[in-house]
């Protein structure tokens, strides 16, 4: 079976009709997290599982759902075209309808198929086509989601299934069981005849008693062996887990400390960066003026000029005013009297002199008396009043003058001047030096940022190491790794006791079985007198030998089958690890008739803690071997489909791995995020080295991170 095309329509993130074409070799589908890799795999699983025969509302594209008008319908489908004795096609689909704003219903589920015979195309049920061409057994050994599913022998029935399906001779178990039963029945019949035969009666009874006893012993010993083996296996597996975990735990503890230290380092650099508060510096430290040194100089020059000009204008104004005031006074003073002579100034004589002359009733200017009531006296009183009135007017005039005649009402220029002075001197020097300071601080900040990036990179490395470690320990949680491993010694002691007991029990069983055989031989060598007993004896001996032959043939068949897988698997292992240590795959049968895949060194020692990539290549080698056997034994090919099989690989390893897979003549479809860098860009140089078909799947740009209905997977053929 070769898959030629897969078309996914409106299935989850695959909006509209999305189509992939496949070759008979490797096809890579590369996508980042959330780009639709697992959805691709799930769509295929949904299509190929004949048991899934109903529509699932969760499988509908949210984007398409959101677009549907009420009453509108849409088809959701996954279809596959493939070659399997001619071209065939299967399609699983259903209809979705929007019935109101929030409700959708599904209907019309169908699973149909078509097969081409000659030039004609016949409809068949999809289920029958899948069962015929890609049954559940083949699917079990062809589709793998993640690295952890690659060990097919995790399933205890795997060996029996594989032998039944793929070994040279199938159904051995049933034949062995049947011939065993024949041997027992013929033995019972023969024994009965012997007991009825007078010649052998006594010895037959003795042998029957011994046989009953030894059978009981054998059954009990076998039961004890099974129980003890289970205990020993349990202890061994616990020890294995603990040993594996112990090493992993130590490494985990180291990584935890390292991560903590590096987190602190990151925090420290972040704190240093956040301490660089440029907003405060902008105003408090006048950084805002850093680029304004020439402007400040110009400002100071202009402020100075304005100030000078103001002073000049003010002086001029004061002088002018003083000049005008002086002139008025002079005019007043020189105004003529009635007889044409000059008047005394208003301030002569002064107020005290005039008051004294009025009080003394004498004019002390001319020396004549000026008695009260006389004209002279009244003249002096009038003169005093005029003096007082003048003073008041002058005072009033003085009060009104500034308001009316102030040249500069505001003090802006003084403020400018003061600002200019305050920005001068050392401050101006400081501002002119700000550029250097800011440059230094920015340089320091960049240094901090570089150090932060380095610290974050180191932290990420440690986190990646931890993630890889957790992948390697397969399912062991961080909490488990934190556990104390003091019980390890106790498990060792108990396992040791169980193994010692097993040796004893096996020896007991061996002896009991030997005794049983001896009893059976003695039975078979009896010499009964009756001819019927002799016939039953011969029949039993023949059936006993036939039963043994079936058992041995089964063992041989199984051993040869495992050897065949093992040989093929080791060829693949070598190819997949061309330039790396790969060890040797050994398929080991357990006492429970299951198989374990082990990785050994060439000296026969088990590699107790293989890396994730070693395990993956080991399991994949076994899968390729099983696939080869299927091709040769069943005369049919089938694809191998992997979802993210190389998550534990490093960059170098993954590149080599894909180059090898690319050269294997086997249809492989691998969905992976390998070949993508941290920014989600494809490593084109590595892709160029491959000859296979490559698709890039990714979310359409412009999606809303919180809205599933904006997510759509876009498929781009790369090569």
């Amino acid at each position: 079976m070769i898959i030629k095309n897969l078309t996914i329509k409106n299935y989850r993130s695959y909006y509209g009709e999305c189509s992939f074409d496949f070759t008979s070799g490797l096809t890579l589908i590369i996508g980042d997290n959330g780009d639709g890799k697992t959805t691709f795999f799930d769509a295929l699983k949904w299509l190929l599982d004949p048991a899934l025969e109903k529509a699932d509302i969760n499988n509908i594209s949210e984007m398409r759902k959101s677009e549907l008008e009420i009453g509108e319908v849409e088809t959701v489908s996954v279809s596959m075209t493939f070659d399997h004795d001619g071209e065939k096609m299967i399609e699983k689909s259903f209809i979705v309808e929007r019935v109101n704003e929030d409700k959708y219903i599904t209907r019309s589920f169908s699973f149909k198929g078509y097969e081409t015979q000659g030039a004609e195309r016949f409809p068949v049920t999809g289920k029958s086509l899948i069962v015929r061409c890609f049954d559940s057994f083949i699917q079990r050994y062809s589709m793998f989601k993640g690295e952890s599913t690659l060990n097919v022998f995790d399933d205890p029935d795997a060996l029996k299934m594989l032998v039944d399906k793929l070994s040279d001779i199938r159904e051995f178990d049933e034949y062995v069981e049947m011939t065993d039963e024949f041997e027992a029945k013929s033995g019972t019949a023969y024994e009965k005849e012997c007991k009825n035969d007078k010649k052998t009666e006594r010895e037959a009874h003795i042998l029957e008693g011994q046989k009953t006893e030894v059978n009981a012993r054998i059954n009990n010993t076998r039961r004890d062996i099974r129980d003890t083996e289970k205990s020993a296996d349990l202890f061994a597996s616990r020890i294995e887990v603990l040993e594996k975990n112990q090493e992993a735990s130590e490494r985990y503890q180291e990584l935890k400390k390292l991560i903590k230290a590096r987190e602190e380092d990151v925090l420290q650099w972040k704190s240093r960066i956040s301490a660089q508060n440029f907003n405060v510096n902008l105003l408090d430290k006048l950084w805002i003026l850093a680029s304004f040194s020439p402007i400040l100089k110009e400002f100071r020059e202009k402020a100075s000029a304005f100030s000078k000009e103001k002073r000049r204008l003010h002086d001029l104004f004061v002088a002018q005013r003083a000049k005008e005031e002086g002139r008025q006074e002079v005019l007043d003073e020189i105004s003529s009297l009635a007889n044409g002579t000059s008047r005394l100034p208003w301030y002569l004589p002064d107020q005290e002199t005039m008051q004294e002359m009025i009080d003394d009733e004498i004019c002390k200017v001319c020396g004549r008396p000026a008695a009260k009531g006389t004209d002279a006296y009244e003249f002096m009183v009038a003169k005093l009043n005029e003096f007082k009135k003048h003073l008041e007017e002058k005072k009033k005039a003085q009060e009104e003058k500034p308001k009316e005649e102030e040249l500069f009402v505001n003090r802006y220029i003084e403020q400018m001047h003061n600002l200019s002075i305050s920005l001068g001197g050392s401050k101006a020097q400081d501002i002119s030096e700000l550029s250097g300071t800011i440059y230094d601080r920015l340089e320091l900040l960049e240094t901090f940022k570089r150090e932060l990036a380095k610290a974050e990179e180191k932290l990420q490395d440690a986190l990646d190491d931890k993630a890889r470690l957790l992948i390697q320990v397969e399912g062991v949680t961080e909490e488990q790794l934190d556990l104390d491993f003091q019980n390890l010694k106790g498990f060792f002691e108990q396992k040791g006791k169980a193994e010692k007991r097993l040796v004893e029990l096996r020896e007991e069983l061996r002896k009991a079985e030997a005794l049983k055989k001896e009893i059976e031989d003695r039975y078979d060598s009896l010499n009964p007198g009756s001819s019927m007993a002799k016939v039953y004896q011969k029949v039993h001996i023949i059936l006993r030998n036939i039963s043994e032959a079936f058992k041995e043939a089964k063992e041989f068949n199984l051993t040869r089958f495992l050897f065949e897988i093992q040989t093929l698997a080791n060829e693949y292992l070598e190819r997949l690890n061309t330039q790396d240590f790969h060890g040797i795959i050994k398929l080991v049968r357990t006492s429970q008739d299951t198989t374990e895949i082990r990785l050994l060194s060439t000296n026969g020692r088990a590699i107790t803690d293989p890396s994730g990539s070693q395990l993956t290549t080991m399991y994949m080698s076994v899968l390729f071997a099983i696939s080869d056997l299927t091709s040769s034994k069943r005369d049919e090919n089938y694809p191998l489909i992997f979802d993210a099989p190389t998550s534990s690989f490093g960059g170098m390893k993954e590149s080599g791995f894909y180059n090898i897979i690319d050269s294997i003549e086997k249809q492989c479809i691998i969905v992976t995020k390998d070949f993508l860098d941290d920014r989600g860009n494809i490593d084109e140089a590595k892709i160029d080295q491959l000859t296979c078909t490559v698709y890039r799947i990714q979310k359409e740009a412009g999606f809303n991170q919180d809205d599933l209905s904006t997510i759509r997977t876009i498929i781009t053929p790369i090569k």
């Binding site: 001779i169 039953y536 011969k538 023949i542 030998n545 036939i546 032959a549 079936f550 043939a553």
Partner: protein, 77 residues
């Protein structure tokens, strides 16, 4: 053993090639060159093994197969 293709053919060969069975049965590979030949073989072991395999592959019950082969063996041995 040329020409043995089916599971029955392979099963017959695998069982009858058992060294001990060949010794006690006194037969050789020539006695079962085809499945059909084994079914009519004069050697009771070859014929019995062939009948067991054929009976099971035809869906007969183990009881019927047992009765058939023991009847045959009782008459033959």
């Amino acid at each position: 053993m040329i020409g043995y293709k089916t599971n029955n053919d392979k099963m017959l060969t695998a069982v009858l090639l058992n060294q001990h069975l060949m010794e006690v049965g006194g037969y050789s590979e020539k006695d079962f060159t085809t499945f059909d030949q084994a079914l009519v073989s004069l050697n009771p072991i070859v014929r019995t093994v062939a009948r067991i395999i054929q009976g099971h592959s035809e869906g007969n019950t183990s009881k019927n197969i047992y009765n058939e082969i023991t009847d045959y063996l009782k008459k033959t041995v």
